[in-house]
Symmetry: C2
Subunit: 262 residues, 2 copies
C-alpha cells in the first residue's frame, strides 16, 4: 500500500460520484463501479448482480456506496433491484472481500415526514425545529424506506461482521452547485407541494450540500478509523438548516466550508 | 357486514396462524392466505406474487400479516422473496383493496443485539434491563433487518396512505405452548450461543408468548380503531421479561393471562 486508501465508489457516474472524483481523487486511490461505461476507468456492472460486482471489491479498503435510484418518487419496480437488492449486494461484497468500511449514501427521506408536516414554515430562518439522528424514522416514500433498510443493514453488518459503517443522510447535492439557480425552483420533491417560488428557494437553501462539502464529509468518514458506526446528516452550514449538524461535527470532524445564501 | 370484522390472515398455516384461528375464529370473520392447500379453507398463493394475492384482499377490513421465513438464521435468498418482497406486496395489496388496518408480525430480532450483548445475565430475575419501543434498532440478523424494513414500510403506508398499522415485536410462540418443554432447550437461536440448559430455559421463560396471549394481542390491534400506529412488544407476563410491556398495555389494552414459570 502506497499510503493512499483504496476506495471503491459505486454510482461514480452520478452527481455525488463526480464530486468525489473531483475533490478526493488525489487523496485516495479511487476506483469506480458504474452501470454503464464512462469516460473514466470503471468496473461496469449492475449492483443488483452480486457476482458481477464482486471483482470490483478485491484489494479495496473501503467502499462509498452511492449507486441507487435517487429520486424520491422512484416506484417499487426500481426500488427493489437498485436500492434493496443492490445495497445488500454492496454490503455483502464488502464483507466477502474483507473491506474495513462502508460509507452508505442514506437520505433525509428516512425522516421526510417531519418535513412534510413542517413545511414551508420549517424553512423559516427563525423556525426553532431541528431533527437529529435519534428521532424516530418517518420515511416519506418507498425511497425513504429503502434508506431506512440500508441503515439497518449497515448496523447488522457493523455489529455482526465488523464492518465500520457510516450512514450519511444527505440533503441535496446539485450538479451545478448553486443553491439559488433557477433549476432549483422545479427540483423540490412533488410530494412537498410547495406553492411558491420563494418556498421552493427557501427549501433548497435549507437542505443544500455543496459538492466540496459533500466530498469533505465522505473523506471524514474514510479517515475516521476509530468510528465503528455513525448516522449523520450532511448539509452545508446553511442559515435555514433544520437537520442537526452537531453530531456530524462531533463524531466525524465535519467542518463545512459553504453556506447557502439566506 | 354482520358486525364481525373481516380479517385476512397471511401465513395462516403457521404456529401463530393456528393460534389466531383457534382463539379468534368466533370473534372475527377470518379468511386465510397460505402458501399451500390446507385442511381449512384458504386462498393459496405465494406472497411474493402481488397479482396472485390481490383477490384475497377483496372485501376485507384488516390483514394480519404473519407469512414470512420465520427463522433468525434465514439466508438472503429466502429473506428477499418471503420477507422483503412479500411484506411490500401485503401492504400494497391492503392499500389497493382499501383495507383499514395491517397487523404486522415484526420481531424482537429488530433489536436482537441488545440480547446478544446482555445474555445470559439479561435473563436473570433481578436483572434491571428493559428495552422499550423507543430504543435504537439493532438487528441481529438479515431476518431482523427484514423486520426493521417491514416496520418502516408500515410507517410509510400509515402516514402516506392512511392504513392503520400495528407492528408486533413478538417473542417466542410455541406450537406446544409450553415454555418449559424439553424442545425449548434446543430452540434458542444459535447466534445466542447459550452454553447450558439452564440458560436456554431461562431465555424461553423470558421471551415466551402463550398462544392465547398472542391471539389476544392481535385481537387488541384489530379492535383498536382509534390507534393509527403502534410498535409494541408481545410476550406473556413473564417474571424474567426484558422487553417493555407497559406500552403494549397502554396503547392497546393488552392484558396477558399467562406467565411463564420462574
Amino acid at each position: 500500500m502506497d499510503g493512499k486508501k483504496r476506495v471503491l465508489v459505486t454510482g461514480a457516474e452520478g452527481t455525488i460520484g463526480a464530486a468525489v472524483r473531483e475533490h478526493l481523487g488525489e487523496r485516495y486511490d479511487l476506483r469506480s463501479l458504474t452501470l454503464t461505461p464512462q469516460e473514466f476507468p470503471s468496473h461496469v456492472a449492475n449492483i443488483a448482480d452480486l457476482e458481477a460486482i464482486l471483482p470490483a471489491f478485491e484489494g479495496v479498503d473501503a467502499v462509498v456506496h452511492l449507486a441507487a435510484s435517487p429520486a424520491v418518487e422512484t416506484p417499487w419496480e426500481k426500488i427493489l433491484p437498485n436500492n434493496l437488492i443492490g445495497t445488500y449486494n454492496v454490503y455483502e461484497a464488502a464483507r466477502r472481500a474483507g473491506l474495513g468500511a462502508v460509507v452508505f449514501a442514506s437520505s433525509n427521506h428516512t425522516i421526510g415526514m417531519y418535513e412534510l408536516d413542517g413545511a414551508p414554515e420549517l424553512y423559516d430562518l427563525d423556525d426553532p425545529r431541528v431533527y437529529d439522528h435519534t428521532v424516530e424514522v418517518r420515511p416519506d416514500s418507498l425511497y425513504g424506506v429503502s434508506k431506512v433498510y440500508g441503515e439497518a443493514l449497515g448496523r447488522y453488518y457493523q455489529e455482526r461482521h465488523g464492518l465500520r459503517v457510516f450512514c450519511l443522510r444527505i440533503g441535496a447535492v446539485r450538479a451545478g452547485d448553486d443553491p439559488i439557480a433557477p433549476e432549483v425552483l422545479v427540483s423540490s420533491p412533488a410530494l412537498l407541494d410547495l406553492q411558491t417560488e420563494e418556498q421552493r428557494r427557501a427549501r433548497m437553501r435549507a437542505v443544500w450540500l455543496s459538492r466540496r462539502d459533500c466530498a469533505h464529509l465522505i473523506g471524514c468518514c474514510l479517515d475516521a478509523d476509530d468510528v465503528r458506526w455513525a448516522v449523520v446528516y450532511g448539509i452545508s452550514d446553511n442559515p435555514r438548516q433544520f437537520w442537526d449538524l452537531s453530531h456530524t461535527r462531533e463524531v466525524l470532524g465535519y467542518e463545512p466550508q459553504d453556506r447557502a445564501p439566506v
